[in-house]
Every structure is written in structure tokens, then in C-alpha cells.
């Protein structure tokens, strides 16, 4: 009578630490293998892609420095998002908060293009942080006020942010001497972040990101506020019982995520880009979601996953040039990586039970 028996997922008595550590590696391997098959199917040499994506970024000082450059914003945004994700507040709109950070930071050089002084880039970073925070606060306000879903609100606000960027660059903030291109004036020297590694584009925002990672570790692992957020995420009823404010958790989660994304946006315009452009929105805000989960929502794990994701960015660019990989393939790889990780992480608290009895059962039935 039972014709086909599927294995069942059973909850483990205790979370498995080995699987927790192994999950990202297994996910990377599974995603890599399945994508290599895919590349072979579309007629691209999979080994050339593999070399270009994962080996080539480490073969020269310059390409490695580009990995470090990409890792900075991913690390910053993911640390902020992870704090909210642990509290089950899903800020999916880091991209929009990133754009607002870039816009706010650009306001100073746009309105004072001749400004100079050591105060310039630090105040741009602060203003950018504020911009991301304010943009995220819109989401927090409606979630608390009307219980509007923060996933939808933050995501849709990202598209609003893009249109705001378009408006500014096509209208009031367009560089008058820019041949009608949709971009702002080039920033003065003091508006640019100091370079960290000579001869490369790597700037001190990487140090800021690492400092934020350390701060995130203390916040999530040692602080009472971090503890309250964690309880709220794991067991909302326990948080209510303890008297931890749910609204407070929503505000803190979204504001931290927004501030980190805004800081990353400011560091982008005052770092490698050097002006406000439409192309600053390259999907860091979305990739950082993958980075946060791939790092197990843990500040240390995120440091590693940010570098991995940065490698894949640079490697993907390489593969497009040297192996003729289509541009969408990089996104497909990122997506399959997240999917494989989510599958793998399921087994930290659950295990498969195969129906051993399936065969004996058939025999025994009269």
C-alpha cells in the first residue's frame, strides 16, 4: 500500500557543530560542480572558467587588491544585515540604503566642489551613514506602525532610491561641464579616502569594515542588546515574556543595517568611483544577503564569506573576458551558492531518516 517512501527530516537532539562548519564548504563545492556542468552545457570550457574564477584572482598583486576592494562594502553591509537577520528582521533593501548613503555623502562635494581639508572625507562618511540609516528608518516606521512587511517595504524602497539617484543625476546634480552625462562633478582630492595599499585602489574603508566586524562580534556575542535581539529572533514569545521590546528590536535591526549599508555607499563614491554615478548600484546590497547567510550570520564567518564573494566577483569578471562566460552566469552562480548553503544548513539541526522498513513492509502485508 505504501508505494513510494521518501526519507524524512527529523530534528536532531542537538545542533551539529561539524555540519555548521562544513556547510559553507559543501555549499561552495556543490554550487561549483553544478555550475561547471552548466558551463559545459552552454559550450564554455569549464576548466578555463574554474581557473579564471577561483585561481586567477590570486595570481597577481593587482587582481588580489581588487578582491580586497570588493570585499570592503560586502563585509560592511553583511555585518549590518546579519544583526537584523539574527533577530528575524529581514532587511532586503540594503541596496537602496547603500544608494542613499552614496547620495548623502555626495551632497558635500556637489554643493561645495571647491572644498578642501582633512574634515571632508570623514564628514562624508558620517553623512552617508546617516543617509542609509534614515532610508532604513522609513521601513522600520511602517513595520512598527502598521506591521507592514519589512521585506517588501525595504525592497521596494530600493527601487525608489534608484529613481531618486536618476532624478538627481539627470537633473539638479548633473555636472554642468560633464557633456550631459548623468553623473556628478568629480570629487576634490580631500573628498577621496586615503589609499591603503600603494599602487592599488584599496583604501582605508577596508580597515573601517574590519573594525565594524570586530564591533559586530562584541555586539552579537557579548552585549545585552545583542542578546535581546537574538532571543527575539529565536523565540519571540520568550522575548515577550522577558519584557524585551519587539518594536525596539525592529528599530535597532533596521537602523544598524541601514547605517552599515549607508557607510558602504559613502565609501564607494569617495573611494574607487570618485563621483556620483548611476553605476554605483551594482548589487552589493543583494550580494551581501548571501554573504551574511554564507557566513552563518556570525561576524567571523562573514569576514571569510565576504572575501569569498569578492573573489567570485573578480573571478566572474575574469571569466567573462578570458573564458567567454555570459554576464548572467555570475548571478546564477551566486544564486546557486545561496541555495546550496540553505540546503546544507538545514542539516545542522535536522537529519535524514531513510525508511528502512519500506522493503520488509511490502513482504509482510497480506
Amino acid at each position: 500500500m505504501t508505494t513510494f517512501a521518501l526519507p524524512k527530516l527529523v530534528r536532531r537532539e542537538k545542533a551539529s557543530l561539524p555540519i555548521l562548519v562544513a556547510a559553507p564548504f559543501v555549499a561552495l563545492l556543490a554550487a561549483a560542480l553544478s555550475n561547471l556542468v552548466l558551463y559545459a552545457a552552454i559550450g564554455v570550457d569549464p576548466f578555463a572558467v574554474f581557473y579564471a574564477m577561483l585561481i586567477e584572482p590570486f595570481t597577481s598583486y593587482f587582481s588580489f587588491s581588487e578582491v580586497l576592494l570588493k570585499a570592503g562594502p560586502l563585509l560592511l553591509i553583511a555585518q549590518g544585515l546579519a544583526i537584523g537577520f539574527r533577530a528575524k528582521v529581514f532587511n532586503i533593501g540594503a541596496e537602496g540604503q547603500f544608494v542613499l548613503g552614496a547620495i548623502f555623502a555626495s551632497a558635500i562635494p556637489v554643493y561645495y566642489p571647491m572644498a578642501s581639508g582633512a574634515w571632508l572625507w570623514p564628514s562624508m562618511l558620517i553623512l552617508g551613514t546617516l543617509g542609509g540609516l534614515l532610508w532604513a528608518s522609513i521601513t522600520a516606521f511602517w513595520r512598527v506602525r502598521l506591521n507592514a512587511n519589512e521585506i517588501l517595504v525595504s525592497l521596494m524602497l530600493s527601487f525608489v532610491a534608484l529613481q531618486l539617484l536618476n532624478y538627481l543625476l539627470l537633473g539638479p546634480w548633473k555636472d554642468p561641464a560633464g557633456f550631459n552625462f548623468p553623473q556628478s562633478v568629480m570629487f576634490p582630492f580631500d573628498a577621496l579616502l586615503p589609499t591603503l595599499l600603494p599602487g592599488t585602489r584599496v583604501n582605508i574603508s577596508l580597515l573601517i569594515a574590519l573594525a565594524v566586524a570586530v564591533a559586530a562580534w562584541f555586539f552579537t556575542q557579548r552585549s545585552f542588546a545583542g542578546y535581546r535581539l537574538e532571543v527575539g529572533g529565536l523565540a519571540p514569545n520568550a522575548a515577550r515574556y522577558a519584557g524585551f521590546s519587539q518594536n525596539g528590536a525592529i528599530w535597532i535591526s533596521l537602523l544598524i543595517g541601514g547605517a552599515a549599508a549607508g557607510l558602504a555607499g559613502a565609501a564607494e563614491v569617495s573611494g574607487p568611483v570618485g563621483q556620483l554615478q548611476r553605476s554605483i548600484s551594482t548589487g552589493y546590497g543583494y550580494a551581501a544577503i548571501i554573504v551574511a547567510y554564507l557566513g552563518g550570520l556570525h561576524p567571523i564567518g562573514i569576514v571569510f564569506s565576504a572575501f569569498l564573494m569578492a573573489t567570485l566577483y573578480i573571478g566572474g569578471d575574469n571569466a567573462m573576458v578570458s573564458a567567454g562566460l555570459p554576464i548572467a552566469a555570475v548571478n546564477v552562480f551566486q544564486g546557486s551558492l545561496l541555495l546550496a548553503y540553505l540546503v546544507a544548513i538545514t542539516f545542522v539541526r535536522r537529519r535524514l531518516v531513510w525508511p528502512q522498513k519500506a522493503t520488509t513492509e511490502m513482504v509482510a502485508q497480506p
Binding site: 500500500m1 542537538k14 557579548r222 545585552f224 529565536l234 523565540a235 520568550a238 515574556y241 519584557g243 522498513k357
Partner: protein, 503 residues
Amino acid sequence: MAEPLLSLRGVTKIYGPVHANSGVDLDVEPGAIHAILGENGAGKSTLMKLIYGVDTPDEGDIYWRGERFEVTSPAAARKLGVGMVFQHFSLFETLTVVENVSLLVPGSKRELTSRIKQLGTEFGLEVDPLAYVHALSVGERQRVEIIRCLLADPKLLILDEPTSVLPPQSVELLFDTLRRLAATGVSILFISHKLEEIRSICTHATILRGGKVTGNVTPKDFDAHQLATMMIGRNMPDPAPAKEVEKGPLLLDVAHVSLPSEDPFGVSLEDVSLEVRGGEILGIAGVSGNGQSELAAVISGETMLPRAADGRLSMMGTDVRTMGPAARRGFGFAFVPEDRLGQGAVPQLSLTKNSILTAHSKGMVARGMIRGGRATEFTRTCIADNDVRTPGASAEAGSLSGGNLQKFIIGRELMLEPKLLFLNQPTWGVDIGAATAIRKRLIELRNAGCAILVISEELEELFELSDHMQVLHDGRLSGRFKTSETEPEDIGRAMIGAEEAAQ
């Protein structure tokens, strides 16, 4: 001796490190009312799951009328003639009785309606087939579940703790039904830990302890104390004597509090009044689902009263209507919630981190950072003082058994040295040994001058513990009964709302 209807030989079931059942032998005779007696975690539910085909045994055989059978699914069990009434009902509240029945039993609605009526008169299971389930009392819902099983014409009916949801009057009706059923030759497996009930109705009893059969007895030949000793394997601890204590100040004062429910299936509280003084235990009796969760949330502060609400709610003399749980704790209030996993404790976090949940004000937080040493020390003390069986303070709360986790939670709340302690279902699902220890602690605390409020479904427990009782029915609270001058029947009448009807 007649050939047994159902026999188990050497049945073993292992879940991970736990031997839920090991080498269980069981014989159920036709027409017997057979009790499976055991503490929580003794393996009663596992055994029933094996018989009903929810799970399959790792070792051992099941015989049905002498023939070996593999019961691979509940459908196969029903085909054999096994029916089961679960502790938690599986009825759709928005459908009528007959609609619910027709989901599982074939036949036209008219046919089913007349059969439901017929079974009702035959076995004392009167229920209106066309009534909506949400309008039925718990006792009536249980009747619907039983009728649904009976329509399949079972030879064996399994009832999992059927009386835990019933007021005393309904228990008698249920027993009457079971006796009538047994008289027609149906065997009944009756799972319970309530000894007096088993003595009054069961013809056989199989006692389980730690997954093994420790006795097969005729319950009428033993008294409750002897049965309990067999069940827990040692002598029952004596209850602490309740001293005459000078009544202290009024520490909890609730007057005329009403709160409409936001949930369409929730219960609205209407004009609730109660007071608890130092050195007094007030018990709130009632069948679950009559507003217990709502009342608990109002007292704990998880639900705050609207600013404009009428009525009074004060603790230690301070108006706390608009204060949250943390603020109320600041006045010396402590609360043990009904739900251990997910409310009283976070399952995925260590015991140490669970201590911080409510005891963070005990020096565990300094300048916004957690002082791990203080929290661990607190947790170790709590584990040692309350006989919590666990590998240590770093064990995940979810890995503890229900009774041990409850001991931890109660211990944690007592270490807050409360002036006013509120417990919701303190011994629900806790084994008899631990439950007795908990009650003893509460009475000691009362003798020391603490004000205690207890919500419980177990009448026996309330009679043992409380100085006064009030009954919650349909969101309304009855007047005060003095326990020493009250009979269980008086409480029972209030539990089903008969009191109000008479007035």
C-alpha cells in the same frame, strides 16, 4: 483465559540515545478497560504510537488475535479495528460535527447524522450533529472524537489522557460511556497518570517505568499510594504541611478588569477580580481554553491594558496597568509561564543564556555588556539547588526533559526572591516526583510570606496547594472559595458554568 485481542512481545523502540520502550510485553483482552500507567517520559505515548502505526518498533512483534501483524500506518491500524482519541483534538472549528465526521468516514450526511444520534443514545455520547464545533464545550468535542472512532466499528479504542481536559462531572459521563462500550466487547486502552481514575474504571493495569514494564496488576486491589510507588519506583515524598500564616499585605490586586479578545477564537476577559496577600496561595481552576492564557498575559504584563481601560491592576501597591513584564519584575514579581520551550526558555540557547532572560538584573549586565561569569555562577547554583538533571550550565535548554526544564525555570524565578509569584500550569507534563517537589517548594515559599497565584487544570493539585480558589469559565472569574470548606463538586459546577445559570 480468553485469547487476547492484542499482544505485544518484546517491543523495543529507540530514539537516538533514548530507549523509549524496551522489551515491552502487553496483553489486552476483549472487553477489558486496560490502563497504561506511568510517569511522563515512561514511554506510554511511544507505545500507543507503535500500536496505532504512527511509528514502527525497532524490535519485537505485535499480534492481533494471535496473528503476527506489522502495523505500518494509522490507516492500517484503523483497518484492523484500532481507533485512537488523541489528547489534542483534531477537529475543524468552523465546520459542524457531521461535516467533521464526514471528512474521515464515508457516507452521506443524512446517514451520518442519524448514526451519530443513534450512537449518542446508545453510549451516552449526546451531541448535536449539526452544531458548529467552535460552539461545543471541550467535553462535547471529545465525544465527537470518540463518535468518529466508533463509526469505524473499532475492536480496540485507545484514549490518551482523556480526562485531563474534562471537569469532574464530564469525567463521570465519559466513564459511563467507556463501561457501556466495554460491555459490548470493545477493548479500551486507557492512558493516564491519575491513579484514582484508574482504580475506579480499569480492569487491568500495565505499569511502565523508564520504558520497561514493571508490573501487571488489577488496580482495584491496590490503593493509590501503592500504585504511585510502583509507578515512580520509590516512596512518594510527603507534601509540606501548610502552616497557619499571618496574612500579609495585599500584593496583587485585580479589580473589574475586562479585555476584549483580538483573536476571533480567543476568549475575552470580563470583569475579572482577584486579590492575593502575602502568605497566601490563590488557585485558579478551570477547563483550559476558558481564558487562562489571556488572564496570564494580563497579569504578567505580556498584554498591557489600554491606558483608558477601566478597573484596577496593582502589584505591591503600585498601579502596573501600563507596565511591561520587565518593569513589573522590578517590583518583586516573578512569573513561570505555561509554555516552557519558547516562552519560559529559548530552546536553542544554553541554560546560562536562559538565566539572563529574566535574571539579568542580578548583576549579569554591566554597562550594556553581559558578564558571563556571573551568569554561569547563577546558573550553576540554580542547577544544584533545584536538582536539575543536566550535563551542565552550557547544555541547550531544548535538550532537557520537560520536568527538568520546569525545575530550572521555577528555580530561576525563585532566585529572583519574588514577593509575588505567579505560575501557570506549574506541573503540567512534569513527572510525579518532580511535581511533588515543586508543590513542596511553593508551600514553603507561602509559609515564608510570599504571595502566590497558581493557574492549574489539575483540581487535585489546587486542593493540595491553595488557601482559596476561584474558577475561570468563559473569561469570567467566580467568587472566592475557601479550599478547606469546599468540595470538588462545587468547583466542578463553576467550571462548567452551572453556577451562573443557577443565579
